[in-house]
Symmetry: C2
Amino acid sequence: MPMDVPTDRRVGSQRLHQVLGAWHRSGATYAALADGLRAAVQSGAVPLHTRLPSERELAATLGVSRTTTTAAYDVLRDEGFLVSRRGSGTVTTLPPGAVERITTHTVLTGHDTSVDLSAAAPSAPPELHGAYLAALDRLPAHLGGNGYAPVGLLELRQAIADRYTARGTPTSAEQILITHGAQQAIHLLVESYAGPGDRVVVEQPTYPHALDAVRAAGARPVPVPAGPAGLDVDLFESTVRQVGPRLSYLIPDHRNPTGTSLSDEQRARVRAVARAHRSVVVGDEVLTDLTLEGAEPSPFAGDGRDSAVVVTLGSASKSFWGGLRIGWVRAHPDVVARLAVRRRHMDVGTALLEQLVTVQLLARSDELLARRRQELRARRDLLVGLLADRLPTWRTTPPPGGLALWVDLGAPVSSAVAALASQHGVRLAPGPAFGVDAGLERYLRLPFTETPSALHRAVDGLAATWAALAGTVGEVEAAQEPVGTQPDMAAYV
Amino acid sequence: MPMDVPTDRRVGSQRLHQVLGAWHRSGATYAALADGLRAAVQSGAVPLHTRLPSERELAATLGVSRTTTTAAYDVLRDEGFLVSRRGSGTVTTLPPGAVERITTHTVLTGHDTSVDLSAAAPSAPPELHGAYLAALDRLPAHLGGNGYAPVGLLELRQAIADRYTARGTPTSAEQILITHGAQQAIHLLVESYAGPGDRVVVEQPTYPHALDAVRAAGARPVPVPAGPAGLDVDLFESTVRQVGPRLSYLIPDHRNPTGTSLSDEQRARVRAVARAHRSVVVGDEVLTDLTLEGAEPSPFAGDGRDSAVVVTLGSASKSFWGGLRIGWVRAHPDVVARLAVRRRHMDVGTALLEQLVTVQLLARSDELLARRRQELRARRDLLVGLLADRLPTWRTTPPPGGLALWVDLGAPVSSAVAALASQHGVRLAPGPAFGVDAGLERYLRLPFTETPSALHRAVDGLAATWAALAGTVGEVEAAQEPVGTQPDMAAYV
C-alpha cells in the first residue's frame, strides 16, 4: 500500500489496547505505558504518522487514570516519538536520528553498545580483503563498458551454476540471474508472480521480509505451520490445492527462524505439488551452506527437471558477508529471461566489483565455510549453555544448522521481552515478526552469530529483562495477545 | 502486473497489424515482415509467451499471401523467436542466450561488435581504480558488523548532503537515503506514493524505466509535453490541479532524452505547485553534473524548505560510472525515515564498499567532472558534425548538457530505424520507448557517450540503415503509427 503524504491515519483506543497487549509491569504505571507505546511505534505495530486516541479516551479504555495517559504521552513527546499538532491530535513520529540508531548502528561502531540479536548475520571472514584485491585486479577488463549488467556477469553466473551442478542439480549459466542480494530476488519473484489480492503460501514462522515483500505486492500471505516439528507437508499440499496460490515461498534448509529442514521425501513431495498444480514454489537457500550437524541437505531443486516451477534463490550474505549485496535466482532459462526483463523497473543491474568479489569467495568457499561452521557450532553451544544456566524455564532445541535458536518462552510475552530488553542492552526481533498474524508471542529468535563476549552480555541482559518481567508473567498469561503486530522498523534478517 | 506462469496471452491480427506499423520495405516481403515481427518481440511490443494469430489470419489482415506469413514465421522459428506447440499455436519466445546478448553484451567484450547507442552511459574514469583501493583501506572498520546499512553509511550521506548545501540547498545527512542506484530510488518513491490506479505525472518524453516503475506499481503515467522547447509548466500546473497525482516525476536538468532544462523561474513555479497541492514532485538529478555549456542549473530543491513535497534523487552512474550501483534520495527527514522502512521489502541495504568508493569519487569530483564534460563536449560536437554530413535531413539541436542528442527524423520511422539498425551494427532505443503512448515515432535518441571511433562506426551504420529504408519513407509517412509500444528488452538508461 502506498504511503500517505499528509496522513489522516488513526488508531482507535480498543485497537491500541489490543496492540499494547500485556503492557503492565511493576513500577510506575505511566512509565510502563510509555514503554509499551514506544515499543509499538518502534516495532511498527502502530505505524508512523498515525493519530493516537485522546488521553481521556485511552485512559477509559485501559482502565487507568487520565494522569497516567497524560504522563505517558508527555514522556514520548519529550523523547520525540509523539508530536501534538493543533487540529490533528497526537501523532506518532520518530525522534531525529532514530532511523540511524535503529538501522545502521551495527556499522557505526561506538554509537550503540547494545548487543544486536535482531539480525542473524555473521561478520566478514578474513578472506574478504584478499578477495576484494583479487577482484580489483580483474576489474579493468570491465571498465570500458557502461557497467550495467542486468542479468549478471557470466563468470559469476557460471560459478553459481557449477555449484548447483556439483550438488546434483545440473545447471547452466543461463539459468542464473544475479540480483542485489536475496531480498531483491524475493521481491522480484513475489512481484512477478503475485499481484493485488493473489495468495502466496508461506511457512509460519518464516523470514519477516519475505512477508513484507508479499504484502508490498498487495498479495495475501497464507500461512502453513512450520514449527519446531518442521513444515506440515500434508497441509502444504492441501493448501496449494485449495487456494491455488500464484507462488509459495519456503525455506527448505535450516529454516529461519526455527532451524528445521525438509526431509528428502518432503522435498520430493513439494516438487510434485509444484508440478501437479503448475504453481511456482520458491526455495530460499540462503542458509543452505550452514549445516552444523549431520548430512548436508539434498538440493531443493532435485534433478533440476522442474525448474519452470521449482525456483531456488541464494545469496552471499550468510555464507560470506551481508555487506556484499549479491544474490541469485536459479530457474528455467525462460523464467530467468522474464525476470531479467521485469527487474528493470527496480534497478539496472548489480554492482560489478561485488560480483567479481563473490566469484573469488565462491572459489575458496570450502575452506571458508568449514571455519565458519566450526565457529557457529561453538557459539550455538555457548548460547544454549548460557540460557540453560540463566534462563532455565526457556526451552529450545539446538538446531542442526542455520544461525539462530528458536526459544519457547513458556508464556506469550515475546513482544514485551523485546521491548524491555532494549533497555537492558539487547536488541531483539519479537516472535510475531516471523508470522502472518499475531501468534508466535511465546517464541523468540536468538541468533548465535555474535562473538562469545557479546553472547555473554546478551544473556546478562536477557536475564535482567526476564527478572523485570517476572512479577507480571502470571498477569501476562491471562492477557489478550496483541493483534496484527507487523514489526516495521528494523531489518530482521 | 504479475507475469503469467503458463500463459494464455494472445495478440490478435488487427492489433499485431498496428504494432507492426510501417513494416514494408524494399526487398523480399517475407524478410521485411520477419524483421518487423522480430523487432516487436525484442522491443517487448509483443510480450514474450504471447500467441500470435495464425499464418492465414495474419496474411488476410496484412493483405499479403499466406506464403509470406508462413515464410516469416519459419524464419523466426529457425532463429528461436517463435515456437509452435501442438494445441497452443505459435508463441513468442527468445532464442537461448538472447538475454545475455541483449543485456550484457556491453560488459562481455568480444561477444558483440555492434555500437551500443541504446544506453546513454559513459565508461569508467581513470580515478576509479584508485578510489576502490582507498575505499578498501577503509573497509576494515566496517567488517566487524553484519554489513547491513539500510539507510546508508553516514560518511556518504554527509558527503552528499554537503554537496547539496554547497549548491545552495542546506541539507543534513538525515535528509539523505542511500539506494541501490537511481533506479531503486525511483522504484521506491513511485511505489511508496502511488498504488494501483493512482496517477503519476511524467514529462513526455522521459526516462523509460521511470515509466516502467510507474506501470509496475499499477499506477497510470499522465504525460505532460516536454519536447525540444522544454516542459510546458502551465500544462504541468493545470494537470496537477486536475488529476491530483500522488507523485510527479520530472528531470529538471539536461532532461533525458531531450537535453532541455527547467529555467530558474520554472523551478520556482514547480515548487509552488508541489506546495500548493501538497503533491510530491520528484526531481531526477542524475544528469545535473553534466552541464556542457552555460551556467550550472540552480538546485531543483531551491532553498530546501519544501523538502516534504519537493524530493530529489541522484546517482553515481552518470557522473562516475554505471558499474557503481549507488543512488540517493534527498527529502525531509520524516520522508527519509518512511522510505527506509518501506524499502526493506526490496533489499536490506546497499553494498558497503560501493558506498566507500563513492565517498572517494565525490571528494575528487571537481577535477573528474571537468575532464568528463570536456570529453562529452567533443563527442557531442563530433556526432552533430557526422550527422550533418551523412544524414542531413535529420534535425537536432546540440544540447547544452546531458549525454544524448534528440533527433527529429522527419518521418514516423523511429522503430523501423531501430529494428533495421541492429542489422547494420548499431543498437538503438526507439523514440516510443521514451513516451507513455506510441507517439515519438519521429524521434530518435542518439547518445554521444561512445568513443570517437565507435561514433564514426555508428553513423556509418545509421547512414546504411537510412539508405535501406529510403525507398519506403513515403509509404511509412502515410502508414498508421504503431500503438501501445512498450519496449521491454534492453536497458535504455
